[in-house]
Symmetry: C2
Subunit: 418 residues, 2 copies
């Protein structure tokens, strides 16, 4: 749509975000359960829309214009639909992330400071051909009292439109629900407008491949929550247990090779006695091993693993801090002192000891729902749950209190946490 129209839409989203910020949690949960119910009741219509998308995409797969993996993600079946609906019900059961008291402090007699969690405002979501993202992000936005503008991939446009229609229909039945909290846009120009409107949009969350995320990070001043690369490392220390090393590395590389938390580079201490056995076991597990300096920057997303011998723990730490994308790293060692040094010195969102890097995930961490995994150094880092969609404000309750009294010494602060 043209820029002026998009600005109007963003303004409406901003306005709606102020409205949903004050909704009681009961109403938000009712909205979520209505959505879940309406998706269930309309699933055949959604499948029909999805079928149209699949029919339009098939020739593109055959001509090589669309990857088979993208086509697979596009397809909605009964299992995916059941997971989608259950995901919304799960989010309705999570604790309200809004209105939590994060700090309560008496500043002086009758002067009380409270720090309270509140929504961020308007989220811009840009995602690729995974229509289940719409319902998941809409549910997360409602639960965290944020408005959201969604831009999906063009391959899933029919499915996306039908899911959003069903969601909006479910919200119709709730009086006073600010329906502009959920908006969908469709064109490339809309992405451009979204990325430029820092006045109305407070946070961008890209859900998709590395190239999409990198493009977005390069083209906006709005904070972006996510990660482009996932170059994760495992360091096998001198004292590592061979069996643990095998188990963990094979899991981290082969259990789901295209995941962002799969290991890409293996560092082995030169004095580790079982390097030959370890590498042999990896090859037997179908892992192709590569030892070239140019590969330290490579995210294979496949059963390929770079490896390198290092002379010391410190060399391993420096290699990781130089080449890692800051996602997740692990040390395999029986030396707890070395584990501690590694976990302290490695500057990544996840730093593990004798654990597969694949554990970096909001559900595995027990967050209930996941917005994404962030390699940012501000706001939210690592797997991000509902809390990452919140900020806070400070309230003060007083009785005509003025700063002059504290500047001229008439009164003084006590700063007592309550």
């Amino acid at each position: 749509m043209e820029e002026g129209k998009f600005i109007e839409l963003a303004k409406k989203a901003k306005y709606a975000s102020k409205k949903i910020a004050t909704l009681p949690v009961g109403l938000k949960n009712t909205a979520l359960l209505n959505i879940a119910k309406n998706l269930k009741e309309n699933q055949e219509k959604i499948f029909e829309a999805n079928k149209r998308d699949l029919e339009e995409a098939l020739p593109l797969v055959e001509s090589g214009e669309l990857k088979q993996s993208v086509f697979n993600r596009l397809k909605l079946d009964e299992n995916k639909m059941r997971d989608m609906i259950q995901g919304i019900i799960d989010i309705s059961n999570l604790e309200d992330p809004i209105g939590k008291t994060l700090l309560k402090r008496q500043l002086d007699d009758g002067l009380i400071l409270t720090k309270i969690s509140c929504p961020i405002g308007v989220l811009g979501i840009i995602f690729e051909a995974r229509p289940d993202v719409i319902s998941q992000i809409s549910a997360l936005a409602i639960k965290s009292s944020n408005a959201v503008i969604l831009k999906g991939g063009k391959e899933s446009i029919n499915t996306n439109k039908e899911i959003m229609r069903v969601i909006q229909e479910a919200l119709d039945s709730i009086r006073d629900f600010p329906k502009d909290v959920l908006t969908q846009v469709f064109s490339r120009d809309d992405v451009k407008n979204m990325l430029s409107l820092d006045k109305y949009i407070d946070l961008i969350i890209p859900r998709g491949g590395n190239n999409l995320v990198r493009f977005i990070k390069e083209n906006t001043k709005i904070p972006v929550l996510g990660h482009a690369d996932g170059i994760c490392h495992i360091f096998v220390d001198e004292s590592a247990d061979l069996e643990k090393a095998k188990r963990v590395i094979i899991d981290a590389k082969t259990q789901y090779p295209s995941a962002c938390n799969a290991v890409e580079t293996l560092l082995i201490h030169k004095d580790f006695k079982y390097t030959t056995e370890l590498l042999k076991a990896l090859e037997e597990a179908g892992v192709e091993l590569i030892a070239k300096p140019e590969s330290w920057h490579t995210e294979y997303s496949d059963k390929i693993l770079s490896y390198k011998l290092v002379s010391t723990l410190e060399e391993a730490i420096e290699h990781i801090n130089e080449y890692s994308s800051g996602h997740t790293e692990s040390i395999i060692t029986e030396d707890s002192k070395n584990a501690k040094i590694f976990m302290n010195a490695v500057d990544s969102a996840g730093v593990y000891h004798n654990v597969s890097t694949r554990f970096a995930d909001g559900f595995r961490y027990g967050f209930g729902a996941e917005v994404g995994i962030s390699t940012n150094k501000t706001h939210a880092r690592g797997p991000v749950g509902l809390e990452g969609l919140t900020i806070y404000k400070y309230n003060i309750e007083g009785n005509g209190d003025i700063v002059k009294d504290y500047v001229d010494g008439t009164k003084s602060f006590c700063h007592k946490d309550l």
Copy 2:
């Protein structure tokens, strides 16, 4: 300096940031106390350097090229020096913000997740003619284990250089202290390079006037912590107590009119019975009153106040959410229900009841030290203390744990907070 040289400097700062991240708090505090001591011992040399800056600035003030207020801030006297030194000692006494356990959760038997506070990395500080910022920010950076690249105003260049020399000399005596954590740059090109180097610089903190902050926010993709405008509102509700309204508004407007948390716009409920008395009292306190729609965007930073009558509480809330810069607002009311609605619905960093907006300040909130006041919607909002210079990482301790076991159902998560 040329771009290549700046990149080298930024790389060194990044490397030093990894080193200081692992320093024990005792060493950081020793560094701070050494700096305080050396500043005290070298204060005459610093005053001499400051005198040179003042001598060079004086003709510019006379010719009108430099504002008198900037000149005043440039001057370092014994009082300012004493406050500077005490400020560093105070920071050494604050709790270590690094290495705090923010969450400890058992994921399964022998699989423990810990969320630990850690530094952000490299901070870029751009400040105007206030040489005391150098020692304050250096101390905050050391305490929070961050590296910092400082760019001060050209008016205070001699003072800035001498203070940094004295600080670095104090750090020389500490073996293994990564001295590259503190670097100073001087040119406009350095600002340009700083704002473009998102690869090495993790957070920009501008300390200065609105124009500086606005320029920086417009010209970088690095997260910026701060605020450009401070358009704060006070709403006098129908049931407001006249005496409280007078006290609070006069304090909020006149106690320090150029502060960012001074009130700029007064909204009065049309049914408030004492509007005439209130406006008269404000005029008697030397406040000039203006009632023009074009002034809703104006930050006067002077004893001038826009005012407007509104018909309802809701209209006041909507006016504020439309025109406020999101800094600090206050409601004056005896109706606690209205106060609650206002505090809940107004989307600003500080929302008060019967309290002057001037309380928005890290020291008044009891944070011990203040990095600045943020109107951002992510990371840190409102007055920001040391905590705003930290992020966190997730550690997992295990014993060869792999994701496959949880995917195939051999094991399951217990997610028990410890």
